[in-house]
């Protein structure tokens, strides 16, 4: 009862919202990179909000199901197939024993998410199931998945009401540019007026130095007010934008170190971090300043939007009212069942 990893892919890890409460000892939060896609993956199959998923990166894994369950796939488009047939993303999918779920390389986006209605049997370490690669704790043996790994399920398949309605529009990660809204500070006063203008006006390019810890950007030099922009090391928030003395921004992400000594000119707002983490090398970003009040209003709007999605999939599907469509979808389902 579970999944066998036939191919591990490039970087496939067990993740949830992260391990909070231990940053004072130097433990990174870790957790998913794209919180929005993660939440949608879980809500499509009525999982608890913080249920652990698989996060896949750039080249996806191949998984064999050793028992039936229901899954959902969200995030970047890795051309998923089930037994060789294209699998629909952003849709609850019924998986049978022996089914092979195969991912290719990311056509759009960089990270994908697979949620499981039978819940991955991963021990909770310090309050979370997420993998902390750096500290080698949590997740599956504290590491990324490799060929021949096996993860069991905690429960048998659950019944999901409104199964046919459990589909949402697939999110599009094909854009090569993104506007990242930021709250300025805490150390924006370390930069010159010209430096701030450069930061908020110019385009920055995503480099290949982009991992779960952070994303280095290339672009115009951001000038400090005077000398080096080193600070007395302090705590680092999710999305903080550090500018070391080389003048190029580094955005700190899920596996960020808990503290650091480079001045932080701004921090990307929560709702826009998914836009950044789904960008590929060579894509560009620009920064736009908002106030903390505006950022929190956007945070609430984002939460409401996700709640609206939850409501949208908890109604009888409209096809039920149209017999021909219903027959078509039923036939498809029955064919799958055989």
């Amino acid at each position: 009862m579970g999944i066998r990893v036939l191919k591990g892919g490039m970087l496939t890890t067990v993740q949830d919202l992260g391990r909070y409460g231990y940053q004072s000892q130097g433990f990174s939060v870790a957790g998913v990179m794209d919180i929005r896609s993660f939440k949608i993956a879980n809500l499509l199959i009525d999982n608890p909000e913080n249920e652990a998923v698989l996060e896949i990166t750039l080249i996806g894994p191949t998984l064999e199901f050793t028992s039936e369950t229901i899954i959902a796939i969200t995030g970047g488009d890795f051309s998923p197939t089930i037994n060789g047939e294209p699998a629909k993303m952003y849709t609850a999918l019924y998986m049978k024993k022996g089914d092979i779920l195969k991912f290719g390389s990311a056509r759009t986006g960089t990270r994908g998410y697979i949620s499981f209605s039978s819940y991955l049997d991963i021990p909770v370490v310090m309050g979370s199931r997420c993998t902390n690669l750096k500290s080698r704790i949590g997740g599956f043996k504290g590491r990324k998945l490799k060929d021949d790994d096996y993860i069991g399920f905690r429960i048998k398949r659950r019944y999901l009401p409104f199964f046919l309605s459990r589909t949402l529009p697939q999110e599009d990660f094909s854009a090569q540019e993104a506007v990242l809204r930021v709250v300025m500070g805490p150390q924006d006063d370390r930069f010159s007026r010209q430096g701030i203008e450069t930061f908020l006006r110019e385009k920055y390019t995503v480099t290949s130095e982009f991992d779960r810890m952070g994303c280095r950007l290339e672009g115009p030099f951001i000038a400090t007010a005077s000398g080096a922009a080193d600070i007395i090391s302090d705590g680092i928030a999710y999305g903080a934008v550090q500018v070391p003395s080389h003048g190029k921004p580094i955005i700190l992400l899920s596996d960020r170190q808990t503290t650091g000594g480079y001045a932080k000119i701004a921090a990307v707002i929560s709702a826009d971090i998914p836009k950044l983490v789904q960008r590929k090398t060579g894509h560009t970003v620009t920064f736009k300043a908002v106030t903390v009040e505006e950022a929190q209003a956007i945070f609430h709007a984002e939460t409401e939007q996700i709640e609206a999605m939850r409501k949208a999939i908890h109604v009888p599907c409209r096809e039920v009212l149209e017999s021909r469509l219903t027959a078509k979808r039923l036939r498809k389902l029955l064919v799958q069942e055989q």
């Binding site: 000892q25 709250v183 080096a228 090391s233 928030a237 503290t259 932080k264 921090a267 929560s270 945070f299």
Partner: protein
């Protein structure tokens, strides 16, 4: 509240800066604020990261707004903050300076206008207060580095620094507990593991305790490393008054 600044860091964190210097008094004040916050238990706070002279608070804006948290913290900071004195425990950490273990030691010496021997002597003749743990599991931020050997961080951080490396970054010195990217100038390496997830107590030291670096030769390094790998090495600890 004098000189205390409350700053934003994105939509889910608040940074409280207590001063612009590294001092035991400021550090002790932060510890008492953290204690008070635990007692008051403010709903919506998900984590705190106390540092040298600041405190980062992670919160959930769904539960706690910026304005509310700011008001709560202003009220808390206006209280009289008591501080406690600690008993001095000093961990003796063996370090092999220079050579392949400390590729930047010459740069540190050049920057200071001193010889490599003088840099080693200065670095290893003082007890460093562990102000905080952070950056990596078990990474100690130490106070008390002699001004003569303060050295700026690398302008472009290294992508990988081996575990055990001892370095200087600005006015700070410390040990990398695991392989990691980083921007400090490297002066040596200890065979001791300050963080070992397989050990019963993964993190060797605690904030408020002290570290002293003991210079060792390359041969001694290999000998101690062997004992560490076999699990027989015990770090020497001395205690005394603050």
């Amino acid at each position: 509240m004098d000189n205390i600044k409350i700053l934003t860091e994105g939509d889910s964190s608040l940074l409280i800066v207590f001063g612009e210097e590294i001092s035991p008094a400021i550090n002790a004040k932060i510890a008492s604020v953290v204690r008070l916050m635990r007692e008051q238990h403010i709903e919506g706070i998900v984590d705190v990261i106390p540092a040298f002279a600041s405190l980062l608070i992670n919160y959930n804006p769904q539960v706690l707004s910026y304005r509310t948290l700011r008001e709560r913290m202003e009220a808390l900071l206006s209280l009289d903050l008591d501080t406690q004195e600690a008993v001095k425990r000093v961990y003796q950490i063996p370090v092999c300076y220079g050579g392949k273990y400390g590729p930047d030691i010459q740069a540190i010496a050049d920057h200071a206008g001193l010889s490599v021997e003088e840099v080693i002597s200065i670095h290893s003749s003082c007890d460093y207060l562990i102000y905080m743990l952070g950056f990596l599991p078990g990474f100690c931020y130490l106070g008390g580095l002699d001004q003569r050997i303060h050295t700026p961080r690398l302008s472009n951080p290294r992508l990988s620094i081996p575990a055990g490396s001892v370095g200087i970054g600005g006015s700070q010195t410390g040990i990398y507990p695991m392989d990691s990217p980083g921007g400090w100038q490297l002066m040596g390496m200890t065979p001791v593991k300050t963080y070992d997830p397989k050990r019963e107590v993964p993190i060797l030291v605690n904030a408020g305790e002290y570290i002293r670096f003991i210079p060792i030769t390359g041969d001694e390094f290999l000998q101690i490393k062997d004992e560490v790998d076999r699990g027989t090495y015990k770090v020497k600890v001395s205690s005394g008054e603050v």
